[in-house]
């Protein structure tokens, strides 16, 4: 048994954990000498793979653009940075709605797999109310309140807005939107809408190849390049390949003890970490699952789920938003004479906000590796009359067709260079749930879709269909329409923050109701959908909580907590 002691332990290193690691680490270094901060990460440490200053290996020749950027779908790499949570029971029951969640793993968390899109959440997102009419967000959060923190995160992540043209050479070419974006913009124009370039957490990044899931280049800003590097410089310790199974009150330091499995070096060893302050930051699914596994050790006034304890209404594991993710794929017509090159360059370079005011959704064209043709996440070969067969995980061949064989291969060829994927981000009602399945594995569910969400998705699907048709093409429906399956890369909630214990798992500063010094700071505490890619908002909320802890404003200062 490996036993470690640290004053502060942060479990996870994504957009919540990385910000806390940097800010609390710097605070401890500057003002609390002798205190320690430790980051424990379930996945591996890929820092070297992202380090822009690391020299390229001699055996890797320069590519056509004179740099060392390589295709990032290298399997050995990708297998380490992405994981999927799903609804196993639902997937086995034909016709039942299921939920699939893609998440990043490894040092850097979600930044290992994100597209780099860095949008501030719209004002309306913070004003959403629950069915009882109460504001979902605590009063201290609003767009205006977060704007200065958004700006801070944008500076740290080198967020840059793309452009359509290089303005006569004034804008570097890496900053331009892609061919895919131009095709999308033309489609928007033809239906009377407008596409605009996006903001990306990127710098000098046009040539990196497959951008989508994991990458080894300096372009897109992985958290190991900024916040986590800052934390390391401040003396924060890191322990990768170590999965925390449970957290319980007690331990040598009078706070909490975390138990789990250390897999460093390929050998499994149990560990125990004793801490005064614990920050759970394993992402919406990871953090929620950790608290669910730990529930039995917290009872009565310390129960992690005060909603269940006080009013019999469970809040832990509930209120999971998919951020309105809804993706489709189709083809554009030949008449354009434009090659979409859907799988090249930046993953997302533009968006259409024309429908946001009326319907509450954005439409974005996004990268799609041709591999998506074989995936259930976007069921590209499905026919409208039969959206899913076994559903969700395969392309669901139509009756009499197979998802393999010569005919299947020839169907794939219908897409070719004309393939274009689009998706929407929308306000939803946080209809999802997280619970524990076999072997304490996190299971995610989407029991029922709120009519308002359904209406937004219907409107978004109609807009996307019109764009395809305006481009002389055809939209192929995804698996959602008939079976209610939801696929998201932007899970939010599960441990939502709230003003009152019966409404949420943590208070507005991320601290557990009834458990001093036990925090959750990541996407799990975001209490609503955002209708914008959430990384910037998760980081801004984390900055806000870090500020409060350092200054002791609104909550007890970290210095006092560690005294």
């Amino acid at each position: 048994m490996n036993v470690v002691h640290s004053d502060v332990v942060i479990v996870g290193s994504g957009f919540g954990g990385a910000v806390l690691a940097a800010r609390l680490g710097e605070h401890v270094r500057d003002a609390l000498p002798g205190r320690t901060v430790l980051v424990v990460e379930k996945g591996g440490d890929h820092t070297g793979a992202f380090d822009p200053s690391a020299p390229a290996p001699d055996h890797e020749p320069l590519n056509a653009q004179g740099n060392h950027f390589r295709q990032s779908l290298a399997p050995a790499y990708l297998a380490r940075v992405a994981e999927v949570a799903t609804d196993t029971a639902g997937a086995l029951a034909d016709g039942a709605p299921t939920l699939n969640v893609l998440a990043g793993v490894g040092l850097g968390g979600g930044s290992n797999v994100y597209a780099g899109v860095s949008l501030r959440a719209p004002t309306v997102a913070f004003a959403q109310t629950d069915p009882a009419g109460r504001r979902r967000w605590p009063a201290r959060y609003s767009r205006a309140a977060l704007d200065p923190l958004y700006a801070r995160v944008e500076a740290e992540l080198r967020v840059t807005r793309l452009a359509w043209t290089d303005a006569g050479g004034a804008i570097p070419r890496w900053q331009l939107a892609t061919k895919r974006d131009l095709v999308f913009a033309e489609g928007c124009r033809r239906i009377g809408a407008t596409a605009v370039p996006l903001k990306l957490a990127a710098y000098d990044d046009a040539n990196e190849g497959w951008w989508s899931q994991g990458q080894r280049f300096r372009g897109r800003q992985n958290l190991t390049m900024n916040y986590l590097a800052r934390a390391k410089a401040a003396g924060v310790r890191f322990q990768a390949d170590s999965e925390v199974d449970r957290v319980a009150p007690g331990g040598d330091l009078g706070g909490y003890v975390l138990t789990g499995t250390d897999r460093r070096g390929g050998v499994e060893r149990p560990f125990e970490i004793h801490a005064r302050v614990v920050v759970v930051a394993g992402g919406a699914v990871g953090s929620t699952a950790l608290l669910l596994r730990s529930e039995d050790d917290f009872t009565g006034a310390r129960a992690l789920d005060q909603g269940r304890e006080r009013v019999g209404a469970r809040v832990l594991g509930r209120h999971l938003s998919g951020n309105g993710d809804y993706g489709v794929t189709g083809v554009v017509g030949d008449d354009l004479g434009l090659d979409v090159e859907t799988y090249k360059s930046k993953p997302i370079g533009s968006m259409c906000p024309s429908f946001f005011r009326e319907h509450g959704f954005l439409v974005l064209p996004f990268y799609a590796e041709p591999l998506y043709l074989a995936l259930g996440r976007i069921s590209t070969l499905q026919r409208p009359e039969r959206p899913t067969a076994l559903g969700r995980w395969s392309t669901g061949p139509a009756v009499g067709e197979r998802d393999w064989g010569l005919a299947y291969k020839r169907r794939l060829a219908r897409f070719g260079g004309r393939m274009l994927s689009m998706g929407c981000l929308a306000l939803d009602a946080s209809e999802g749930e997280i619970r524990l399945g076999a072997n304490d594995r996190a299971e995610v569910r989407w029991p029922v879709t709120d009519p308002a969400t359904e209406a937004r998705w219907s409107a978004a699907a109609d807009v996307m269909r019109r764009i395809y048709e305006a481009l002389g093409g055809e939209m192929f429906l995804d698996g959602y329409r008939k079976d209610g399956t939801v696929n998201t890369s932007h899970p939010l909630g599960g441990c939502r923050m709230a003003e009152r214990p019966e409404d949420g798992v943590v208070d507005p500063f991320g601290e557990s109701f009834g458990n001093k010094n036990l925090f959750v700071v990541d996407g799990a505490i975001i209490p609503s959908s955002l209708a914008a890619n959430p990384s910037l908002t998760v980081a801004a909320v984390a900055e806000s909580i870090a500020d409060a802890l350092v200054a002791g404003q609104g909550t007890e200062a970290l210095a006092s907590r560690l005294a």
Partner: protein, 267 residues
């Protein structure tokens, strides 16, 4: 009347000494009542893919891969369109990280991973044995690769339809799809279905937005290319990059001032 020797799938697996595999692959609830599903319940198999030109395969795995995503050949046997074998699906199948990779991509549902043989059993060996077991239902004591193509296809159809063998065959399919569409080792699969090739296939480099002259394989070296030349080539339609110096036309009447701020964020 089908004159095939009719062996139950589980009997065949046991015949090949794979009793543990039978147990490992027995999905809960997959066989109502817990008994063997009689072969008479199996759906009729419709073989509707006449092979272009068949070739000999060196092993069972490649023979199956060539059914999952087939190569297409002309009458002389020359390759016209590559398939999973040419995309080097065998290399993908041997990847140490294949299961976590294909699971993370969604190609393998957790139920398949749960149903795979426990321990360090080689996936390739297990799939190979499964293919032979399926082949034995068509012709006893005949290897899968030795069957005529139509019987191989029929065996594979049955294998995908059988709860006991479907998990391993799904792994095989995932390896084929990953090699062919994921361009793990080369871009032949992508090019075969009409996608543009990698700019630098030798090194797997995929880029976009860097202009080439129409018909040229390599992008222009922008460090040494005069911008005036780019402008002239674009005006003459000689530049393949239609994004060059081109902003989308504005959409009349679609005023985004009430939706977006000056930085491009939603208000």
């Amino acid at each position: 009347m089908d004159s095939r020797v009719r062996l139950s799938r589980r009997s065949v697996l046991k015949l090949f000494g794979l009793a543990p595999l039978v147990a490992a692959c027995d999905l809960g609830g997959a066989s109502p009542g817990g008994g063997e599903r009689p072969d008479d319940d199996a759906p009729d198999v419709i073989v509707h893919e006449p092979p272009p030109v068949d070739v000999d395969h060196p092993d069972n795995l490649q023979a199956a891969m060539d059914l999952i995503l087939p190569a297409e050949r002309d009458a002389t046997g020359a390759l016209v369109s590559p398939g999973a074998v040419e995309a080097r699906a065998m290399d993908v199948l041997r990847l140490a990280d294949l299961l976590p990779l294909t699971t993370s991509l969604g190609l393998l549902p957790p139920r398949v991973v749960d149903a795979l043989p426990p321990g360090d059993t080689s996936l390739a060996l297990a799939i190979d044995a499964t293919l032979n077991a399926l082949a034995a239902e068509e012709r006893p004591f005949t290897e899968f690769r030795e069957l005529p193509r139509d019987l191989r296809e029929r065996a594979l159809v049955r294998g995908f339809d059988d709860d006991a063998t479907e998990p391993l065959l799904t792994v095989l399919r995932a390896a084929c799809m990953l090699a062919f569409l994921g361009a793990v080792t080369n871009d032949v699969g992508l090019v075969a279905i009409g996608f543009p090739p990698f700019e630098d296939p030798a090194h797997g480099v995929v880029v976009s937005g860097y202009p080439r002259l129409v018909g040229a394989a390599a992008p222009l070296d922008l460090a040494t290319t005069d911008r005036a030349d780019l402008v002239a080539w674009a005006a003459a339609g000689q530049l393949d990059d239609y994004t060059f110096d081109r902003a989308p036309d504005p959409t009349p009447g679609d005023d985004l001032a009430a939706v977006l701020d000056a930085h491009g964020d939603l208000l």
